[in-house]
C-alpha cells in the first residue's frame, strides 16, 4: 500500500488505434519502397492512365458545354481522377457502385456512355438508364445519404450469401453527416461486405477540411465503427488501386467492411456555378497542381519507357475524338414530351393522377 495518489498515467490503456498510409509514387514520381505486383503490368497502368485522361477530357468538355448553354450545372473532378479510376478498376461488374456526384470517371470506367452522362447532367432522366451495370446507383446529390443505401445493398449480399461488394464513394464533407456514421456503424456491427471510400479533396464547397473535422484523419472514423481505415495518397492511382483491391477482396471474403481515405485536392471549382477564388488563395491551388495524378503517372510511365510523345499525341487525339462523338450523340437527342414526367412515378400510374397526365399532354400537343 502506498501513500502516493494514482495519476491518470497509471490507468490501464484499453484501446489504441493505428492508421497506416499507403503511397507508392512520390509527387515527383519516384518509387517509394516497392510497387505492388499488379504495377509490373504496364498495360494495366496504361489502361488506368488512359482512363484518367479520358475522364479529364470529358470533364473539360462538359464545362465547355455548360458555358455555352448546352449542359446544366456540372461538377468536375479535376485532380481527383485517380480516386474514381483506382477504385472502379478494382471492382467486379457484379459489385455495386454507390457514388457521389463527382464520380463520373467511375461511371465511365464501368461502361456508362458519355452521352448518357451528358443527358443526365443536361437535365434528362433518361441519362440514368445507364449502359453500365444495371444495379449501380445513380449519382447522389444529398451528401452522404447514399451511405445507408450501401449498407442495405451489402446486407442483401450477405443475406443471400452472394460474393459481391458494395462500394460507396463520398467526399470529406460527407463524413460529417449522420447518415455516413449511421451506415458505418451498422456495417461494423453486421460485418457487411462494403467499402467506404472518402475522396478527401479537402474542400466542401468553401469549407476547408480544418473546419470540417478535428479528426487527424478521416480513416480513423472507421475505428469508432469497429473496423479498419487506411489513408492513401489519392493522387497516386497505383496506391488507390492497391488499397481498393485489398479492401474489396477482404469484403468479398467475408472479412467485413473497411474504409479508405484517399487524400487529393480539388483543383477545380465546386461546380461550374462556383468561383473558388472567392475563398481560397491561388498560390495554394498552384502548389497542389504539382501533385496531380495524371502527370504523376505519366512521368513514371515515361521513366519506364512505357510511354512517349507519340503515345501522348495519339491518346489526346483519341480522347478528343471519343468525347466529341459522345457530345454529338448527346446534342442530337431531343427533349421528351412533357407527359413523360409521369413515367415511372410508380410501377403503374394510379388513376388519381391520370387526369393530370392527360391535361399536360393535351396542353402540349394542342
Amino acid at each position: 500500500m502506498t501513500d502516493q495518489p494514482q495519476t491518470d498515467e497509471d490507468l490501464p490503456v484499453i484501446a489504441r488505434f493505428e492508421v497506416r498510409r499507403r503511397a507508392y509514387l512520390a509527387p515527383d514520381s519516384t518509387v517509394l519502397g516497392s510497387l505492388p505486383r499488379f504495377a509490373a503490368d504496364t498495360n494495366l497502368l496504361i489502361a488506368l492512365y488512359r482512363a484518367m485522361v479520358l475522364a479529364r477530357t470529358f470533364d473539360l468538355k462538359a464545362v465547355s458545354l455548360q458555358r455555352t448553354g448546352r449542359l446544366g450545372t456540372y461538377a468536375v473532378a479535376l485532380g481527383q481522377e485517380g480516386v474514381a479510376i483506382g477504385v472502379a478498376s478494382a471492382m467486379l461488374a457484379d459489385d455495386v457502385l454507390l457514388p457521389s456526384y463527382r464520380d463520373n470517371a467511375a461511371f465511365l470506367w464501368r461502361g456508362m456512355k458519355m452521352e448518357e452522362l451528358l443527358l443526365f447532367w443536361g437535365g434528362d432522366e433518361r441519362g440514368n438508364l445507364s449502359s453500365g451495370p444495371a444495379h449501380d446507383f445513380p449519382c447522389c446529390i444529398p451528401v452522404g445519404s447514399q451511405a445507408p443505401h450501401a449498407v442495405g445493398v451489402a446486407y442483401a449480399f450477405k443475406l443471400r450469401r452472394q460474393p459481391r461488394v458494395a462500394v460507396c464513394l463520398f467526399g470529406d464533407g460527407a463524413t460529417s453527416k449522420g447518415d455516413v456514421w449511421e451506415a458505418m456503424n451498422f456495417a461494423g456491427v453486421w460485418r457487411l461486405p462494403v467499402v467506404f471510400v472518402a475522396n478527401n479533396n479537402q474542400w466542401a464547397i468553401s469549407v476547408p477540411l480544418g473546419l470540417q473535422t478535428a479528426s487527424a484523419t478521416l480513416a480513423q472514423k472507421a475505428i469508432a465503427a469497429g473496423f479498419s481505415g487506411e489513408q492513401v495518397d489519392g493522387n497516386d492511382v497505383i496506391a488507390v488501386r492497391a488499397a481498393a483491391e485489398k479492401a474489396i477482396a477482404a469484403a468479398r471474403g467475408g472479412e467485413g467492411p473497411s474504409f479508405i481515405e484517399a487524400v487529393t485536392y480539388r483543383l477545380g471549382d465546386h461546380t461550374t456555378a462556383d468561383d473558388a477564388a472567392r475563398y481560397r488563395a491561388p498560390e495554394e491551388v498552384q502548389a497542389h497542381w504539382k501533385e496531380e495524378p495524371i502527370a504523376r503517372l505519366r512521368t513514371y510511365l515515361v521513366s519506364q519507357k512505357a510511354w512517349g510523345k507519340s503515345e501522348e499525341e495519339q491518346l489526346a487525339a483519341e480522347c478528343q475524338e471519343r468525347v466529341e462523338a459522345g457530345v454529338a450523340r448527346y446534342l442530337a437527342m431531343g427533349t421528351r414530351a412533357p407527359e413523360t414526367m409521369f413515367d415511372h412515378l410508380y410501377a403503374e400510374l394510379p388513376n388519381a393522377y391520370r387526369g393530370q397526365r392527360d391535361e399536360i399532354k393535351r396542353a402540349f400537343h394542342a
Binding site: 464545362v63 464547397i205 456555378a273 462556383d274 491561388p282 491551388v285 498552384q286 504539382k290 502527370a295
Partner: protein, 363 residues
Amino acid sequence: MRQFMLPDLAEGLEEAEIVVWHVNAGDHVVADQPLLSVETDKAVVEVPSPWSGRIARLFGVKGDLVKVGAPLVEFDEGPEQDAGTVVGQIDRGEPSPADTPVPLSQARPLLVLPSVRALARKLDVDLNLVQATGSGGTITRMDVERAAKSLTDAGPAEPLKGMRRAMAQRMATAHAEVVPTTVTDEADVDDWPNGEDLTMRLVSAIAAACASEPALNAWYNSAAGQRRLVKRIDLGMAVDTGDGLIVPVLRNVGERDRKDLRAGLDRMRADAMARSIPPEELRGATITLSNFGMIGGRFASLVVVPPQVAIVGAGRAAPRVVPRRGQIAVRRILPLSLTFDHRVVTGGEAARFLVALKSDLER
C-alpha cells in the same frame, strides 16, 4: 487585358503545333496549371500558366501552328461577376413596377348555394330579382322556383327597344338630375267658340306665358352651372304613337301664325305616326307641352327633360261644378299642370308663368 504568349520551349524553337487545350474560356486557372499541350519537333510539351487568373479567350485551336511570341491566352482583368449560386442559374431581373396591394372592393354578394345558382341559370331566373327567404338572406331553391313560376305567369320578358328604350333612358337621366316641382291650376274655357282648336290655343298660350315669364323658356347646363334664356320658343309636342312617346319640336311658335303652326303640327303628327320624323326635329326644344288630356286625366307631375327647365301639362277639358259670381255653375274647365326644375326656376316665376298661361286661355 493580359496576354500570355507562346514561350521559347526549346532552343531555336520558332513555332509549335497545338495538340490539345486543357482549359476553356471562362475558367479560373492558377500559376503552373497546364493550359495546353503543344508539339515541338522534340516532344509533346505541356505549357503551364504563368499566373493565376480567369481566362478571357484562347487563341488557336488544335492543329494550329503558333509562333513563339504569339498570343496563346488572354486573361481577364476585370472584376468577376459573382454567379451567386453553386447550382443552376439565378437570373437577374429588371426592377419590377411597384407592387402595392390594393384594397378589395366590397361588392354586395348574392348569398346563393352553387346548386341553387345552377338551377336559376337553368330556369332563366335573374337572381337579382329573386326575393330571398332563407336564413341570413340566402336565396333558397324554393325562392328560385317561385320566381320562375311568377315570371312564367307574367309572360315572356321582352327587352326594351327603340322608342321605349330611349324613353327609359331619357327619363332615368332626367330623374337623376332634375329637382321637379309641380304647380297646378284650371282655366275656364267655357266661353270658347265651338270647334276652337284646343292644341293651337295651348301653343299660343305658352308663347304668351313665355313672353311674360321668360325664365321658363331656358336651357340649364348643370355641369357648368349655366342657364341660357332662349329668345326663340321651340315647343316640344309630346305625341303618343302606338309604339311609344315621341316629342317632335314645333319651331318658333312665338312668331309664326296660327295657320302655319297648325299645318306644321299636322305634318309633324303624320310623320310621327309614320315614324318618319328626322332626328333633327326631335332636338332642341326649349319647353315642352304634354297634352295628355287628349286621352284622359286631370293633373300630373310630369318629367322635365334637361336641358329644358319646364313642361306644361294639359288635362282633359270637361264640365265641372264651379262657383261663379257667388252662384254654382257648370263650366268647361281645362286642368293645367306646370312642372319646373326648381334648381333653376323659382316658385314665383313658375306661378307667374301659370297665371299668364291661364289668362291667355281664358281670353
